[in-house]
Structure formats: structure tokens, C-alpha cells
Amino acid sequence: MKRVYVREEWCLGCHLCEYYCAFAGTNETDMARALKGCKINPNIRIEENDGVSFAVSCRHCLEPLCVKGCITGALTVSGGVVTIDGDRCVSCYTCILSCPYGAVSPSDGGAVQKCELCVKTAGGTPACVKGCPNGAIVFEERG
């Protein structure tokens, strides 16, 4: 299955992936207008320190600890994509306790949020990949 992979050496630390991610969920046509003045809460996050930067988002693990530990059944695997049903999530944060990547986070709306490879939003290619100006985030099959 195709997954998002990061190429750390190509990451500029520009944070555009975070903006494209946040924009993908808005149903707006103009990113600047949609996000201007907003504090974004994206599902992909840049980590940076001392000249090094890279993006982190859900790995869609084959043995996902977040799904196995989910107390309600809100997290499931659907066609290989680890998916959250916001209506069933009670924000207990067991997934945040469990994820070794730190890739599940609290949301503004109550349920947790995570990358779903844009299957619910942009469709096809994840928005972070499409928007990365330096090819530091790719969407491909690596087995």
C-alpha cells in the first residue's frame, strides 16, 4: 500500500505541509483566505531542532497500537488506512498514550485527530505531498 514517507535531507522546514494539511479539511478554494488568522491544527507536524527538520504523520502501521488499544472501537483499519470515527471517540487519549510516533493528537472538536491519507478530504494524493515544494514528502509503495 502507498504511504507517506519523509526525506529529511530535503525538508526546508517551511511548514507548508502543515498548511496544506489544515486546508485540505476546510472545503474552501483559497488557502490564504481559509487559514488567514487561524491557529492551524494539522495532522502532519514539522519537528525542528538545530538545523534539522522533518515532517511526521501517521505511519498507518500494520500492527497499529492505537487501534488495538482504542477503548471504544473508534479507531479502525479501513483498506490499510488507520481511520478515526469522530462520533465514537470519547477523547480518552489512549491512542496518544500508545502511538510511538506521536502522530495522534487532540483536536479542537473533541475527538482525536490523525492523518487519514486525505481519503476523506483531498482524495488521491495526500495534500501535504502535493504541496511540498521540495519533494521532501512522498507518497509511494515501499513494501
Binding site: R59, L62, G73, I96, S98, Y101, G102, R142
Partner: protein
């Protein structure tokens, strides 16, 4: 062997469901029976407090979709398992039926421990708070109003208190210990959570013990009396091990290995009734929490069906919140301490011998799983930037090689 294998699971909660899913991942054909003494579709036990508060209703309690048993070709039997006939390889049910097995899993959970309080039989309305029927019984007793006394300031007692908030005229939580949540928090962390609960009107009597009940009055050791309308018994739980007495090794729980096998051939155990090695301390203990239950069950299921699985990474860990204040803890609290104690953040990391032993996070819990994985994997702290990870949990603390393997490599 041409005959279909017969799998039997006693228990219909996280460990039992994990096993059913593990079996079906490995053997789609064998006959699979789940036995439960509850008259319900599989539901999430931790959600019963959300049911009280109204945050979850009806179908929201279901741990798996309504079509789960049909989808997995499972025969669900609503009856109590009374006895395991290990020699005859069958389970005797309360309705007289006998269910034969080739591979058996006991995932029977735990029951409320009720101390032998003098006069408990004179209390008009009391309930435990473990099962869905306990929550419904409690709802019926409350009548929209009333004074509730909760004996036990652990996870169960406090989630019950939160769930009842606004549905009772007074909620008092009493515990022998001088602090709340003594199984997962230190004194400082407990004080923070307690003040959040108190801000919502929940009252506490700590370092207090009940001498006896006189009807709907609790007489405490110091002779103080507490009147109540409903009593919730949340003092503790006991693993349900009785079915394997004399059949498999039992300590506090049913002793299992990393394959979820008991000492008895072809009998497995998982979840709150089982005892296994705590990877954070090396000690054998019951770790009654849902993620471990699911993963022990899944591991048992795969092995029952002839696959190969090991779950040797169980650690104590809890994610719990009260009125929007998140609390995440894991491991055990010995060794040196890194701490941060500011208005919105309570953070303590415990480490020794080049390993992270445990942590407590209250308020700010983002990326807690980075710490959990350091404990679970027993990561040598000199292979990461420990000072950085203390300050800010993230993959940045790992070497570029480790990061590349995790973020750029194949699926894990």
C-alpha cells in the same frame, strides 16, 4: 487434521474480542464460540461512566459493530460458564449445556472486591461499577437526585463520580489512602486532579475508613457519620480466576507467558483475569487495562489458531481524564526524576540505569506515546538525546538512522 478446530472463548469484552479477531486473522474456518454471562452485544466497559454522564448512549456503547459476530462467523452464547472440564475438554454452562473445545481462552475479567463491612446488608441501595448493568442499576437508584457515597478513589470510583456529576445532589468519595488515584499518581499529581474534581463539587474524605454501616449511614473510624442514599463500592477488583482453579497456575491472576498460554495445555488466558510480566519492571503482575487485554487476547487467538505471536511488551499504562483535564501515565515511578511543574503542565519522568521507567503527564499530554515507547522498548537512554526528549517528546531525539528507518522504511 481435517476436522475443523473448535475454539471457545469465555468472555465477550476486550480480551475475548481481541482473541476472536486474532483467531479469524489466522483461521477463517474453525468453529468459534464466545460465551458471556452478560445479555449484551460486546460493549466497552470503560464507557459505562460516559453512559452515566450522557456523553455516550445506546449503540455508542458497542465495542464492535452490530454485525461483528456474523462477520466473524461467531456463535455467541449468553450463559455463565460454571466449570471447565480440562480432561474432557469441555465447558459446562449454567443452562446445562456442554461446549467442547480444542483450544480454550479464559477472558473472564475481574469482579468488584467488597470488603466485609459490618452492616453492609443494611444498606438499601448499593452497587459496584464495573459492568453495563451496574451503570443501569445505578441510574435506576438515583432517581435524578440523591446523595452518593463512593467507597474508593481509584480509577473506577472517580470515573463514576465524574459520570454522576450533575445527577446527584452530593457526591462524596472516600478512600483509605491519603491521596486519590494512588495506583497511578504521585501526591503532587493527585492533588491537581483532586482540585479539578472538587471544582465541580465532588467532595473527598481521604485517609478515612468505614467502620460499619447502619442503614444509609456510614460510620467512619473517627466516629464521624456520613448519610447517603446510594452507595457505590469501588474499593478494588479481583481477577476472575476460579474457573481455572486446580487446572492452571494461579497467583493473583492466572499466570500466562508471552504467548498468553496458561500452565494447562490448550488453555489460554488474557485480560484482567491474567497475570504476566510487566516489561517496565520485570515483575509478574495483573495489569488490568484495556489495551493490554486486547493485545493479550489477540496474541492468544493467533496462537490458538496455529499462528505464532508473542506479546511481551505489557506495561502498566493509563489514559484518563476528568472534566477535560487529561492524565496519562505509564510504567513505574522509581529512579531519578525530571520534572516540570507549571500552571498548565504537570510532568514527571522517572529513569535509572540508562532506561526510562515511567512517567506522569497531566494537562499537557501531546506525544506521550514517545515516552511510552521508550519504556516499552527499554530503549537505552544514551542512544537518544534524553535531555531533548525530556523537554519535548519527539522523534528528533533519536539518531538520523533510527528516524530514517521509522519514517522512511517499510511498514511496521
Amino acid at each position: 487434521m481435517n476436522r475443523m478446530r473448535q475454539y471457545v472463548i469465555i468472555g465477550n469484552s476486550a480480551a475475548g474480542i481481541g482473541a476472536a479477531e486474532g483467531i479469524r486473522r489466522t483461521d477463517p474456518r474453525g468453529s468459534l464460540t464466545v460465551i458471556t454471562d452478560e445479555p449484551h452485544h460486546t460493549y466497552s466497559r470503560p464507557l459505562i461512566s460516559y453512559l452515566l454522564s450522557g456523553k455516550v448512549t445506546g449503540d455508542g456503547m458497542k465495542y464492535r459493530p452490530g454485525s461483528f459476530y456474523a462477520d466473524h462467523n461467531i456463535r455467541l452464547i449468553h450463559a455463565a460458564a460454571m466449570e471447565i472440564d480440562a480432561a474432557g475438554r469441555q465447558v459446562l454452562l449454567s443452562d446445562g449445556r456442554r461446549v467442547p473445545y480444542d483450544k480454550l481462552l479464559l477472558a473472564a475479567g475481574s469482579s468488584a472486591f467488597v470488603p466485609p463491612f459490618e452492616g453492609l446488608d443494611t444498606v438499601r441501595k448499593s452497587s459496584a461499577f464495573i459492568r453495563l448493568d451496574d451503570a443501569r442499576r445505578l441510574e435506576g437508584m438515583l432517581d435524578g437526585n440523591g446523595r452518593v457515597l463512593i467507597a474508593g478513589a481509584g480509577l473506577i470510583g472517580l470515573k463514576c463520580a465524574e459520570g454522576l456529576c450533575g445527577r446527584a445532589s452530593r457526591i462524596t468519595v472516600l478512600d483509605l489512602a491519603p491521596q486519590i488515584l494512588s495506583s497511578i499518581l504521585d501526591g503532587g499529581g493527585a492533588a491537581r486532579v483532586q482540585s479539578r474534581l472538587e471544582s465541580r463539587g465532588i467532595e473527598f474524605r481521604l485517609a478515612a475508613s468505614i467502620r460499619r454501616f447502619e442503614g444509609d449511614t456510614a460510620v467512619l473510624e473517627d466516629r464521624e457519620t456520613l448519610d447517603f442514599d446510594v452507595l457505590v463500592l469501588a474499593v478494588g477488583v479481583r481477577p476472575n480466576t476460579a474457573l481455572l482453579k486446580g487446572i492452571a497456575e494461579i497467583d493473583r491472576g492466572i499466570v500466562i507467558n508471552a504467548r498468553s498460554e496458561t500452565s494447562a495445555p490448550d488453555i489460554y488466558a488474557a485480560g484482567d483475569c491474567a497475570q504476566t510480566t510487566d516489561a517496565s519492571s520485570g515483575q509478574s503482575r495483573v495489569m488490568a487495562l484495556l489495551p493490554n487485554a486486547y493485545m493479550q487476547g489477540e496474541c492468544a487467538g493467533i496462537n490458538m489458531a496455529g499462528g505464532e505471536a508473542a506479546f511481551d511488551r505489557a506495561i502498566p499504562m493509563n489514559a484518563i481524564g476528568f472534566f477535560g483535564l487529561p492524565v496519562i501515565t505509564a510504567g513505574h515511578y522509581t529512579g531519578e526524576v525530571y520534572e516540570k511543574n507549571t500552571e498548565g503542565v504537570y510532568k514527571r519522568l522517572f529513569y535509572s540505569d540508562n532506561r526510562l521507567n515511567g512517567y506522569i503527564l497531566i494537562g499537557q499530554v501531546e506525544k506521550a506515546g514517545i515516552y511510552t515507547s521508550l519504556i516499552r522498548e527499554r530503549t537505552p537512554l544514551d542512544t537518544i538525546d534524553f535531555a531533548l526528549v525530556c523537554e519535548k517528546p519527539g522523534l528528533m531525539a533519536f539518531t538520523r538512522e533510527v528516524r530514517q528507518a521509522r519514517l522512511g522504511g517499510g511498514a511496521v
